[in-house]
């Protein structure tokens, strides 16, 4: 047995094996290097303390206005009136004269900051040149156009990709690649006329073949994952084609290079805005995409989408640097004329970094500004915060399909749920007052129920309703879920938890990672099938027909993020709607709404649907956050009000109108 240095051989508890470890570690810390262990730690402490104090000071320091007083000698012209008495011709004569003299005077000068010059107005005519830098949140996750299912990827390709029409908030369609649509008297034949002066970025002409090809690919049953059609299902043969029962869409016919005709099985008032104005129907260049490897196109894995995609938009693709930016350049042959800026960058970063870059002048547009930043950025002289009311989408609570047959089938339970929560307080605090409480699906639109009940915070009424349906809150556990990403969505749940808890419920809140959404909602998450509601962004979008997929049993598409199964119920053989919700009156109204093309009657029908929704609450609306954006003063040509009204998903409105003001 070796006796280590400093060891005590007489110590019966001495364990030699410890010597290596315990002797070794102090040496690593520098004891044997002559360092003073205590002083090093003390120094560490001092450095940490200093850093904290610096952070505190930095956080609380107000910008200091420097007012300096200095003493200066200045040359001053002094004018004096001097009266002198002179002797002239023996007589004393008083003479008055004005004398101007220069004297040196000592004065105190106080230097104050110059007031900012009044902001110059941009020129009325757009300028050429410069680069536009636009924020692209969450990167570019879905590069394949026909596979696109999220708005960020649509925003990413907005400068180069174009759709047929834009559905404006005033009910009209703004032409893009389409110009006009002729509708037959029986409302069953739609003839779509296309713009004739359009060329692809490679110089090839744009034709009706491209439109037909895009519609076929977007609705192809062979896309993996499938992207089932949400709209246009009334076009003859579209559903059989999408279900793999036909090779083409029988109701779609190319008339000539710039005309394409659609024949419908039944009138469809929503076709114009939801299909021709569809947000996810970017038109593809058939001559390019059809020449790619078919499997790669169907799987969305073709490199083409992020190496050299082409479109018809005002900017053409230059390069994509993953997690950094997408670069576009001016397309001089765009049908609207060449846009002003030389280049347009879509910059990928977190929301926080985007704000800093905007403040530093390294970014020109943030399309979804965090609400907490509004007040601060409004005070920045070189920036403009733009707020537009949101009548297209709102946060809501969607029920779990698997527990939908229990307590929550009773509309009174859902009404009581809404009465229990002070949603206005949520709008005031979490949404910073930038939003509205919503009470029904079409709340705030022309389709709103004329007798809409407002579920304003009323805990007593809630308690009455709970008692009426025989619920003792203390016996009920409510499980709520939100996925992460949008703080405003997430933060509704702690508020709901507090207010429902005040009613006596036990409320659990789960925040889950985005990658687990599908598993969670389909019953494969940590709570299995036993959970109640999740927060969701939904709403009427561009057309009231948006509501139909939620309540129409024919629409079993769960879009991958919903809990209900797409397959028919094995017991009934029928597909169920989103909320396992039945109301014969509603079924009748849905049938009418689908075929009604008279605008006034259509409004009446949807108002009736809204009244039923308002009472039965298949899902709840909570509140709609305003569309808030911020831009630099150098970026001009942004029409945020129109942009925000383009429907459910945010797209870049008229990218060709953007220009850079070099005198900002």
């Amino acid at each position: 047995m070796t006796i280590p240095k400093g060891g005590d051989p007489g110590n019966q508890f001495f364990i030699p094996s410890l010597t290596l470890t315990n002797d070794f570690i102090p040496r690593l810390r520098g004891d044997t290097l002559g360092g003073d262990k205590m002083s090093i730690k003390t120094r560490y402490l001092a450095v940490i303390a200093l850093a904290l104090v610096t952070i505190l000071v930095a956080c609380t320091a107000e910008p200091e206005v420097i007012v300096e007083t200095v003493v200066q000698e200045v040359q001053v012209e002094v004018t004096r009136v001097v009266t002198e008495t002179i002797i002239e011709e023996g007589q004393a004569v008083e003479v008055t004269r004005v004398v101007v003299e220069t004297e040196t005077e000592v004065v105190e000068v106080t230097a104050v900051p110059e007031e900012a010059a009044p902001a110059a107005e941009p020129p009325s005519e757009p300028q050429s040149g410069g680069d536009v830098r636009v924020w692209l949140p969450n990167g570019w996750p879905e590069q394949s156009w026909p596979h696109r299912s999220n708005w960020e990827s649509g925003w990413a390709i907005s400068p180069m990709a174009e759709t047929l029409f834009w559905p404006l908030a005033d009910g009209t369609l703004e032409p893009r690649l389409g110009t006009t649509v002729d509708v037959s008297e029986d409302s069953l034949v739609y003839t779509l006329h296309l713009r004739e002066d359009v060329t692809w970025h490679d110089g090839e002409p744009f034709t009706a073949e491209d439109v037909a090809y895009s519609i076929l690919l977007r609705n192809s049953p062979n896309l993996r994952p499938t992207n089932p059609p949400r709209n246009g299902t009334t076009i003859s043969g579209l559903l059989p084609y999408a279900n793999g029962e036909a090779d083409s869409i029988s109701g779609m016919e190319i008339i000539d290079d710039h005309t394409i005709q659609f024949t419908l099985d039944s009138p469809d008032a929503g076709l114009m805005r939801l299909f021709f104005g569809a947000e996810m129907l970017e038109i593809l260049p058939q001559h390019i995409v059809s020449a790619l490897d078919e499997e790669e196109v169907l799987n969305g894995t073709a490199e083409y989408w992020f190496t050299n995609p082409i479109g018809t938009g005002p900017y053409r693709f230059v390069q994509y640097q993953p997690d950094q930016f997408i670069e576009y350049e001016r397309f001089p042959d765009h049908w609207s004329g060449a846009p002003g800026p030389d280049r347009l960058f879509m910059e990928i970063s977190t929301a926080e970094v985007a704000v800093v870059k905007l403040q530093r002048g390294e970014l020109d547009l943030i399309n979804t500004l965090q609400l907490t930043e509004i007040e601060r950025l409004q005070a920045e002289p070189g920036l403009e915060v733009m707020v537009a009311e949101n009548n297209a989408q709102w946060y809501g609570m969607e029920m779990n399909y698997f527990t939908n047959d229990g307590l929550w089938r009773d509309p009174r339970a859902k009404q009581a749920f809404l009465y229990s929560i002070d949603r206005q307080a949520y709008v005031d605090s979490i949404l910073q007052g930038q939003g509205l409480v919503r009470h029904s699906f079409f709340d705030g639109t022309v389709y709103e129920c004329p007798t809409m009940v407002e579920y304003t915070y009323d805990p007593d009424r809630a308690a009455e309703l709970w008692a009426e349906i025989g619920i003792n809150p203390a016996d009920v556990t409510i499980d709520l879920m939100s996925w992460l990403g949008l703080n405003a969505r997430r933060d509704f749940l702690p508020i709901a938890q507090e207010f429902l808890g005040a009613q006596g419920f036990i409320v659990n809140v789960d925040f889950i990672d985005n990658s687990l959404i599908t598993d969670y909602v389909q019953g494969n998450g940590p709570r299995g099938q036993d959970w109640d509601f999740h927060v969701l962004l939904f709403g009427p979008g561009a057309d009231p027909g948006t509501i139909l997929p939620f309540i129409d049993p024919e629409s079993g598409n769960n879009w991958g993020r919903r809990s209900w199964p797409e397959a028919p119920n094995p017991e009934t053989g029928q597909k169920e709607n989103a909320y396992v919700y039945e109301n014969p009156a509603l079924t009748e109204l849905i049938a009418q709404a689908k075929v009604e093309t008279d605008p006034d009657r259509r409004i009446e029908i949807y108002q009736e649907i809204d009244c039923i929704w308002n009472n039965d609450l298949p899902a709840f609306m909570t509140a709609s956050p305003s569309f808030v954006a911020a831009k630099s003063n150098r970026l001009q040509g942004v029409d945020w009000q129109t942009n925000a009204g383009l429907g459910f998903w945010l797209r870049m409105y008229r990218p060709e109108d953007l220009w850079i003001w070099d005198g900002s």
């Binding site: 400093g6 609380t60 926080e352 605090s429 789960d510």
Partner: protein, 312 residues
């Protein structure tokens, strides 16, 4: 007449004491046991003492949280949200109008719980597996050590996030996830100690006397492992607190409305809060820093105190 021997005291030093007096002196003499030496060394470690005091304060705050917190940490006030510190709310209020001080005090509970419980679990796993591997060697050692090697290759935070995502967030699952990923290091430590201890003469003696393996490990070998394991566990608590904070910061740790230092820091994700509302993130940040620093100081002190090679 007999010869008188001169008194020894006068010629050969002090006179012999009675036996009883010697025994009393011996009893009164300070016996320098290893424990008292370790305590003495620990008490001389000023930073360790500082850490211990801070830890005791945090521990007491956690224990007495319901008594000393001025408000219910979950009680919202959606009118007075994000208010700076005032006389009513010493550390201001958060985005839901909740009292930050109360949440800070209550936030100590999950942090310390996760730290202590997760570390206890994985140190126990380490003792069992490390003992088996170190004592028996051979195939048992090979299998356990290869398992350790495999688990050590995992990026622990990512796997913990993955586990919590599958198991669901919450205090219990956070503890489980940390325990399942962090047992490898102490297992190696225990195995290493036992590999050398099992060759000691007294272990050989115990074995030759017919002692059973389980008893030999428990009575003769494990006591020698305790000291380095305690030191390791101390640092493990600090790591677990940081992991819990990271998970809660990502909203994958402690479930709302419970407060934890990590989920209080979530507010700091917004720039305007970072710049203009330090009361929302500085207190939990300081609490995490202080507790981790204190635990590390205590760990340092324990390591020095239990180091048998040190004199004094």
């Amino acid at each position: 007449m007999s010869e008188q021997f001169p008194a020894r005291a006068s010629s050969q030093g002090p006179s012999p004491q009675p036996v009883a007096t010697l025994a009393a002196d011996f009893a009164a003499q300070h016996i320098d046991s290893p424990g008292s030496r370790a305590l003495r060394r620990f008490l001389r470690h000023r930073l360790a003492l500082f850490g211990l005091v801070i830890l005791i304060i945090i521990g007491l705050a956690a224990l007495l949280a319901p008594l000393i917190a001025p408000y219910d940490p979950a009680a919202q006030n959606l009118v007075d949200f994000r208010q700076p510190p005032t006389a009513r709310h010493w550390l201001g209020t958060d985005g839901f109008g909740r009292d930050v001080l109360s949440r800070l005090i209550h936030g100590a509970r999950p942090s310390l719980s996760v730290g202590l419980i997760a570390v206890t679990i994985y140190e126990l796993i380490a003792i069992v597996l490390g003992s088996l591997a170190g004592y028996y060697g051979g195939k048992v050692d090979w299998i356990i050590m290869r398992a350790v090697d495999v688990v050590m290759t995992f990026p622990s935070l990512i796997i913990i996030i993955f586990l919590v995502a599958i198991l669901g967030p919450g205090l219990r699952n956070t503890i489980v996830a940390i325990a399942l990923l962090r047992w490898t290091e102490p297992t190696r430590l225990v195995r290493g100690q036992i590999l050398s201890l099992r060759e000691m003469d007294y272990v050989l003696a115990a074995r030759s006397l017919g002692g059973k393996d389980g008893r030999i490990i428990r009575r003769h070998i494990l006591p020698g492992v305790v000291a380095p394991l305690v030191v390791h566990a101390t640092f493990g608590v600090a790591t677990a607190i940081l992991l819990e904070a990271a998970l809660s910061f990502l909203n994958l740790g402690i479930l709302p409305p419970a407060a934890s230092w990590g989920n209080m820091m979530t507010a700091a994700q917004e720039l305007v809060i970072l710049e203009q509302m330090p009361w929302l993130w500085l207190p939990p940040g300081l609490a995490i820093m202080l507790s981790v620093l204190s635990i590390n100081f205590v760990g340092d002190g324990l390591r020095d105190a239990l180091d048998a090679t040190r004199a004094g």
